[in-house]
């Protein structure tokens, strides 16, 4: 007993909807941000550490460690160790005792009663006004008349206005230090008389005992406080008022070090991310493989080693290979595009692509996809040999780049109009849109003529068909491609681009003639009402695909059913398990019906005006008859479609009207092949002897 419709993926019910995708490509492992960011963080940390080391080495800190700030200059010059002032045992050094050792205690007792009283109580010491670290300031005079104005770890130099005895140092008291007790703003405060408004330095130099008084100071002090002290004071006052206190160069402080580290690490993080993104984008250059060879390439399968794993079957975008009796077999050689996907996936080398017959149907194009016979006419997309959307997008772009390169600025149309442009693009499929987009980006004047609507060939794909990323790792340029999207998503993206970029696409205009006038091409087109227009252009891009202009049904088609009606069969497998109506019984229609009937669970009905088989290859007729006998297809002779509704198709025939519930309708009743226009434009085939266009016209039935 056989279960209903074996292997019907449609029935996957509530189970995962991604089943269809899985049926085609095996998921590849990718490095997610979970994994990469750990590496990034290591890089960031390393960069931060290196930057911090750099900051430490390049801008050494002036202040010793374990000190509240840099030592005052005279102390630093005397190379005083910490222990000179600080006891190792105790905490804060006793200031008076520490300073008195060198400077002499009583000589420096304050003259002011208030300060003296505080000092007696121990609440005021030398360092209250003359901090040894950080805020210490002063002027030191040299014997050559220059001076050094110093403050926390930095100094500035200048020449004193008065001759000042060399070696004298005058400590300056910053107002900030006085502000611990005094309020400089208050006019009643005694400090007010010592400071100029807005000055940072107290300008009173009468704090201590006068130098001209008899002092019991030692030799060391005498050297400093000679009779010239007044001169030194005056000079220091002038210098302090005239020159601003030197400021420590920014960036070397703690904030600078930490900031440098953090900045470097964030830069490294950004750089690592950017690098990875770039590497991911730089896919292997598959462009070289793109132009199909001049010979027909077909898979050759060694049946003795083939393990029947289906890898090649799944890889082939055109169902060329099938598994028969556990071994892969080429069943549709005519559909082979020669891309070596199957060869790449074959696990044990049983399948190799071999060069075969020369391909007769190739257009005679050069590497830039320009016709060798008709200069100025370029071809992009399906016509060039490789029928893949991604290829079309890339070619459309490339072709316009070649056009722009071959069209010097002086040859371009000065004032483009509706009748004169640089470039006419025929067809608004993937290649056409891609070309238009590039032309707009490159500033070419162009117009795109489309006989139907934008991307109508893609529109005829089955609903929700996933558009695959099959051909190699073809690098995609531009924004037209969406990875692993459905047909609807792709269409939405394209329509949006056409609208948002205001691409000059004129729908409903069919190009029917191309003539030449010197270097200029004259493109003639008609619209549905028969209105004719001609456009003069320097270059022409044919992006018309292989579909040609199909004949359409005259019957009314409900708006809701438009998505169901197709004029070509893209992928029979997508219709597995559906109810399909094929209109017509020519070779194309029969081939489609056969392919559809081979799918599991597909119910195929053929509607045909004639009363019996009338034309077509014997092979096709025999196969359809065989399917008919088996009940795999149903043929309704002498019937025509009178209406396509949202859920039913009405057929009229000798037995009266009949309503069929149908999921998809294929109208395959012939049409004008696209080769006609190609030939019109002067593009020729590689092999002249074989008149391939007539061959193709024959295969499509002219009427029914």
């Amino acid at each position: 007993m056989k279960p209903d419709a074996p292997g019907t993926p449609k029935e996957l019910a509530t189970l995962d909807a991604a089943a269809a995708r899985r049926a085609r490509t095996a998921p590849r492992a990718v490095a997610t941000s979970d994994v990469t960011r750990v590496r990034d963080m290591a890089i960031a940390a390393g960069a931060g550490a290196i930057a911090a080391i750099g900051a430490l080495v390049l801008v050494p800190s002036g202040a010793p460690e374990a000190s509240p700030g840099p030592l005052a200059r005279p102390h630093a010059q005397a190379k005083l160790p910490c222990t000179a002032c600080h006891s190792d045992k105790e905490g804060a050094p006793a200031p008076r005792a520490a300073c008195g050792g060198c400077h002499g205690g009583p000589a420096h007792a304050s003259l002011r009663a208030g300060h003296r009283a505080l000092a007696a109580k121990g609440e005021l010491g030398c360092i209250t006004c003359h901090p040894a670290h950080g805020d210490a300031r002063g002027v030191t005079f040299a014997s050559d008349g220059s001076y050094v104005l110093w403050s926390s770890g930095v100094e500035s130099r200048g020449n004193a206005a008065h001759a000042t005895p060399g070696g004298a140092t005058v400590p300056l008291v910053p107002v900030a230090v006085c502000a611990k007790c005094h309020d400089a703003q208050d006019p009643r405060d005694p400090l007010a008389s010592c400071t100029a408004p807005g000055a940072a330095i107290s300008t009173c130099f009468d704090e201590h005992q006068r130098a001209d008084q008899t002092t019991p100071a030692g030799n060391r002090c005498a050297a400093q406080h000679g009779p010239a002290r007044f001169v030194a004071w005056e000079s220091a006052r002038e210098i302090a008022q005239a020159a601003p206190a030197p400021v420590r160069a920014s960036g070397a402080g703690p904030l600078g070090i930490v900031g440098a580290g953090l900045g470097a690490s964030s830069l490294a993080l950004v750089a690592a991310t950017a690098l990875r993104r770039r590497r991911r984008r730089a896919a292997p250059d598959a462009e070289a493989k793109l132009p199909a060879g001049a010979r027909l390439r077909l898979p050759q399968i060694d049946p003795t080693t083939c393990i029947g794993c289906y890898a090649c079957v799944d890889a082939c975008p055109f169902d060329v290979i099938e598994i028969e009796r556990y071994v892969a077999k080429v069943v549709r050689p005519s559909d082979c595009c020669g891309v070596v996907l199957c060869e790449q996936v074959c696990p044990n080398g049983s399948l190799v692509i071999a060069e075969g017959e020369p391909i007769a149907t190739r257009l005679n194009l050069d590497d830039r996809l320009e016709s060798r016979d008709a200069p100025g006419v370029f071809v992009a997309g399906d016509l060039s040999g490789l029928p893949l959307i991604k290829n079309a997008i890339v070619q459309g772009r490339r072709v316009v780049e070649h056009v722009a390169a071959s069209l010097p600025a002086k040859e371009r149309v000065k004032s483009p109009s509706a009748t004169e442009v640089d470039l006419v693009i025929v067809g608004a499929g993937p290649a056409g849109i891609s070309a238009s987009l590039r032309a707009r980006e490159l500033g070419l004047s162009y117009v795109t003529l489309e006989q139907g609507t934008v991307a109508s060939s893609v529109k005829s794909f089955p609903r929700s068909k996933l558009v695959f990323d099959q051909p190699l790792d073809l690098p995609v340029e531009g924004e037209l491609w969406l990875k692993e999207s459905t047909k609807e998503e792709l269409l939405a993206q394209w329509t949006r681009i056409v609208r948002a970029r205001k691409l000059a696409v004129r729908e409903g205009r069919r190009v029917d003639a191309v003539t030449r006038e010197g270097k200029t091409l004259i493109v003639s087109s008609i619209d549905a009402t028969g209105g004719r227009e001609t456009i003069r252009a320097a270059r022409l891009v044919l992006a018309i695909g292989k579909r040609g202009t199909p004949k359409t049904l005259a019957c009314p088609i409900a708006a809701a059913a438009e998505g169901k009606v197709a004029y070509s069969l893209a992928d029979a497998r997508s219709f597995a398990g559906q109810r399909v109506l094929v209109v017509g019984l020519g070779d194309t229609a029969m081939e489609a019906a056969i392919a559809l009937a081979r799918q599991p669970g597909t119910a195929v009905t053929i509607a045909y005006r004639g009363a019996a088989f009338q034309r077509g290859k014997a092979r096709n007729v025999a196969e359809v008859k065989r399917l008919l006998a088996r009940g795999a297809v149903r043929i309704l002779f002498e019937s025509h479609v009178s209406r396509i509704g949202a859920d039913a198709v009405t057929l009229e025939g000798p037995r009266g009207r009949e309503d069929l519930r149908i999921d998809a309708v294929f109208v395959l009743i012939g049409g004008v092949p696209s080769w006609d226009l190609v030939q019109q434009a002067g593009v020729k085939m590689t092999i002249q002897a074989l008149d391939i266009t007539s061959e193709i016209s024959k295969s499509a039935p002219p009427t029914i």
Partner: protein, 729 residues
């Protein structure tokens, strides 16, 4: 020593020639079992056929509706048993077999047996006949486990067996469709089927039937059409009994069918109760099959998961090829077993199924299952064809470049030409302390469980008692709370003398190094990280106290000051991290539908807009107006995400809220034209939640690089500071 002749006299082995016999003898084993010793047990992979050479063996199983196991069949010398794997590769045993007396039993690996049979038997016809015979024996065992078999004698059973047809279904295949004429009654011999109805194009799962269940008997009795459809959830083997045969049988045994029916109804009711009682079970009910076949399902508690991705990183780092077998994407399930209301995420990582689909599809037999049920890939046999990766219904196998030994080229390493090899979770075979992902989770949110045992809803739906509970993450707050007084006590001490500076500095430096050592623990050792993270938290708090004690609040303009700044930067970023780790996961999981990585969110806005476009095309004007007037402003409101966060609603709750608002505005007008509104509301809510997801994900992640970089700076400055401070006298 060659095997006794009696083995070869078994019906299934008779056509084998001498070469086949020697092959089988080489591959198989002849074992002696003491009385009562077990030959195989339920749950083991069915990959061998057994023949009794001497003694007696009993096959036993629990009949439906009974509690204790019954001996279904006694196997005498020269008879086979354990046939169920011979026609369904990759199956699991459902019965036990043990020796009834001291016995010698020949174990024949099925792969070898099948090959020998195909070669030796000559024609495919003969092979098929053999398989049929084996299947018939196995089917008889299955029928015997059904409740009614108690009252039916062997002859009657044989008659039923003669009428039985076999249906093998693959995942997703239809057994019968709603509205079809009922021609057969079905017994599920193995696997699981979902019973569903179609409702406005939307499929509703009504029930699941598993091994031993009967379906379709009511319609066959009444002669009506099928009321439901039955679809295989995974590979299933169904016994189909034609209508006439079944009706005849039911007439002869009037009471029996009622019994079967009653068991089935009880089960269905239990499922309905489980599914209807709480919202939560609905999720599980959607893909119950996954829960049933999974033996070791990776689940992440979304209320505790901080999205750090350390699980995936540790997976990648513990495999030679550096490829993570775990990707934090996947569906969520809501279960009472999780802490709080938060769902469990089921990331894509191999779940070691009972009957792995990947194994069946493998052309070279590179995938195997060990006796404990772990599914593994033999990389040397893998040809990289990708069948398993495509066959896995949950994307748990990926293709990755083959790991290379140092210096070896691809060609040297690989016998064929394939660059790729299939990789999947191997449960970190050979690693001490179990899977790296589980032990390296800093919040203890991740666990490997058998869903039948650990998730009560699954147990309820399948009629199995839940035994274990999901492991809960250890709380961090007691340790942090304990560390605070220590830190406070430290701050009361101020260093004054040089000696005390040296002491407090030494302590602070040691603490800093201990904190930084967490990075090494995390990256290199990868132990049970949760405990270490809690220790890191507590140490961090203590260190803050130690730094205050050493340096006070001063920031001197030197290395010490820089160190001070860098440390507090590290501390603040760490505190921020601790807070967001505690507060955000649950908020984030509320506004997420599926597990998504941060990089997945970037393209989502466009995808949502695209889906909206698709949804709106061809819809009524009313709907389009509702979209442009209400839903679009709602979806794009600047403060919308903040409002969503504040409201604390889940996405589902927000959808109902918005839907109610729309209905309030419309007041019942144009209801008939609102088809498709639900989908739009869903999209609008998702669009509003998207920026919120991004912000929350970023908050959970962004602090970490800063914390790490600052730590590196702290370490550099610490070295400089110690060197300078001790050098200066």
């Amino acid at each position: 020593m060659s095997w006794p002749e009696i083995v070869w006299s078994a019906a299934a082995l008779r056509p084998l020639d001498a070469r086949a016999r020697s092959e089988i003898e080489a591959a198989g084993t002849l074992k002696t079992f003491a009385r009562g010793e077990r030959v195989f047990a339920a749950g083991q992979p069915a990959d061998a056929l057994f023949v009794v050479a001497a003694g007696r063996v009993g096959v036993r199983a629990v009949r439906r509706g009974e509690v204790d196991a019954t001996v279904l069949r006694e196997i005498a010398e020269g008879e086979t048993f354990g046939e169920e794997g011979s026609f369904r590769p990759g199956g699991t045993r459902h019965m036990d077999a043990s020796a009834l007396a001291e016995s010698r039993v020949a174990e024949i690996p099925l792969g070898v047996f099948r090959r020998a049979l195909e070669r030796g038997a000559g024609s495919a016809e003969l092979v098929l006949r053999h398989e049929r015979a084996l299947r018939r024996t196995a089917t008889r065992d299955v029928l015997r486990t059904l409740a009614f078999a108690r009252h039916v004698d062997d002859r009657e059973l044989d008659a039923l067996l003669d009428a039985t047809e076999h249906v093998d279904l693959a995942r997703g295949q239809l057994l019968f469709r709603e509205g079809e004429k009922a021609t057969h009654v079905y017994f599920v011999a193995d696997g699981m089927l979902q019973i569903q109805t179609e409702d406005l194009g939307k499929i509703r799962v009504r029930a699941y039937v598993v091994r031993g269940d009967v379906l379709g008997d009511v319609e066959v009795g009444t002669g009506g059409a099928r009321e439901v459809s039955a679809v295989a959830s995974g590979a299933a083997w169904v016994l189909a009994i034609p209508r006439t045969a079944f009706l005849g049988f039911a007439r002869r045994h009037p009471g029996l069918m009622d019994g079967i029916r009653r068991v089935a109804e009880e089960r269905e009711e239990a499922q309905h109760a489980a599914a209807g009682a709480m919202l939560t079970t609905r999720h599980i009910f959607k893909d119950l099959y996954r829960m049933q076949v999974a033996r070791s399902l990776l689940v992440i508690d979304e209320g505790a998961c901080v999205r750090c991705g350390h699980c995936a990183w540790s997976c990648a780092s513990s495999h030679d090829d550096g490829v993570s077998r775990l990707v934090r994407r996947g569906d969520k399930i809501v279960t009472l077993a999780a802490s709080g209301d938060d769902p469990l995420l089921v990331p894509s990582s191999c779940q070691h199924c009972d009957n792995p689909a990947c194994m069946i599809d493998c052309p070279t037999g590179a995938i195997g299952r060990d006796p404990r049920g772990e599914v593994f890939i033999r990389e040397d046999l893998c040809t990289g064809c990708g069948n398993c990766a495509k066959g896995c219904p949950w994307d748990n196998i990926q293709m990755a470049p083959r790991a290379r030994a140092k210096g070896a080229t691809v060609a040297e390493r690989t016998p064929g030409r394939t660059r790729d090899v299939a990789v999947k979770c191997d449960l970190c075979k050979g690693r001490d302390g179990g899977p790296a992902c589980v032990s390296s989770c800093p919040t203890g949110a991740i666990a490997r469980v058998n869903p039948e045992e650990a998730i009560p809803e699954v147990g309820a739906a399948l009629g199995v008692r839940t035994r274990t509970i999901l492991p809960r993450a250890r709380a961090a707050w007691p340790a942090v709370a304990g560390a605070v007084p220590v830190a406070a006590a430290l701050t009361l001490h101020r260093s004054t003398t040089r000696a005390s500076y040296l002491v407090s500095g030494g302590v602070a430096a040691a603490l800093l190094l201990a904190l930084a050592a967490y990075a090494i623990v995390k990256r290199v050792v990868q132990p049970r990280l949760r405990v270490w993270l809690i220790a890191h938290y507590a140490l961090g708090v203590v260190t803050m106290g130690a730094i205050v004690a050493h340096a006070g609040a001063r920031v001197p303009p030197n290395v010490a000051g820089a160190l001070q700044l860098a440390f507090w930067g590290t501390a603040i970023s760490g505190i921020f991290g601790g807070i967001v780790y505690r507060a955000l996961p649950s908020r984030l999981s509320r506004v997420e539908r599926k597990g998504a990585l941060p990089e997945d969110l970037a393209p989502q806005q466009r995808q949502l807009d695209e889906r909206t476009f698709v949804e709106l095309t061809g819809k009524s004007e009313v709907l389009k107006t509702v979209w442009s007037r209400i839903l679009r402003p709602y979806a794009r409101a600047t403060l919308g995400p903040a409002a969503l966060l504040m409201s604390g609603r889940t996405l589902g709750g927000e959808q109902r809220h918005v839907r109610a608002r729309i209905e309030g505005v419309l007041g019942g007008r144009g209801n008939e034209k609102l088809q498709g509104l639900d989908a739009l509301v869903r999209l609008a809510v998702e669009r509003r939640a998207l920026p919120l997801q991004r912000v929350l994900q970023a908050a959970l992640r962004a602090w970490m690089p800063m914390h790490v970089a600052l730590t590196a700076i702290v370490l550099v400055l610490l070295v400089a500071h110690v060197w300078l401070a001790t050098r200066y006298r």
